[in-house]
């Protein structure tokens, strides 16, 4: 394995860890708003790290570009969806959990 391969392994495993954290947050957090925090942030970082790891391993620059484009799309979708769901939940009167 080359040094680049080691970096790929580290990035991919770290990315997997963030996906796990996102799911744990989705299951453990007390209301829909806090779950949105967990999902948008953790999964986007998880996908970002995986994309970075795979990009190091990619066979051409066009593939690197496609990976980046996919990540940006997911990022944009994730942020917009988080806002839309939070706004809709508030409009519907879903109460915020308070400690």
């Amino acid at each position: 394995m080359t040094p680049g391969d080691y970096l790929t392994v580290i990035l991919l495993i770290a990315g997997g860890g963030f996906f796990l954290a996102g799911t744990v947050g989705l299951l453990r957090f007390p209301d829909v708003y806090t779950r949105l925090h967990a999902l948008t942030k953790a999964d986007n970082v998880g996908l970002g790290l995986m994309v970075a790891g795979l990009a190091l391993h990619a066979e051409s620059w066009a593939v690197v570009g496609k990976l980046l484009l996919i990540w940006l799309l997911v990022l944009l979708a994730g942020a917009s969806v988080a806002h839309l769901v939070a706004a809709a939940a508030r409009q519907r009167g879903v109460r915020m959990w308070k400690r």
């Binding site: 453990r28 925090h37 953790a42 970082v45 593939v63 942020a79 806002h83 308070k98």
Partner: protein
Amino acid sequence: MNKKNDSGFLSGNRDRMRAGGWRTVLFALAWWILAGGAMDSWLIGVPAVLVATVASLVLLPPISFSPVGIVRFASYFLWRSLYGGVDVARRAMHPGLPVSPGLIEHEWRLPPGLPRVFMANVVSLQPGTLSMELGDDCLRVHVLDERGDFLPELEKVEGKVAAIFRIPLPPGKSDEMED
């Protein structure tokens, strides 16, 4: 886009050529990525890029932006969103589940339209904040930990977004003489 507030970041007709140039490059890049770099695809790609550029110029007026602002924003955004992921992962994994949610309000200094929407999206990916409502005067933000001091951070993000769109901002409440 809001018509009455287009003085700041939307510019006049003379910038159309420049905007067209930038957009042609962007669409060509997008095509190159989608086609996987295949040379024979440009037979369809060139007309598609040209049509997309013309359509975008008709639908979206030129937006003035600063390349330096974008680079600065991107590096700031990447680190902060990575930290945001670490922060929320730590809270999710912690046995005591250390969250105490609250709502805060950030008074807009950005003009309505694209800059505000852009900032609202960015805020949702930053540590501990989630934009909930785009009000006329303020952005209502859901925070994971109401004891945190998020307003200076939001003003900093706002400053970075303003730099992208070349918008001059009035000084904020917690201004700390940034560039």
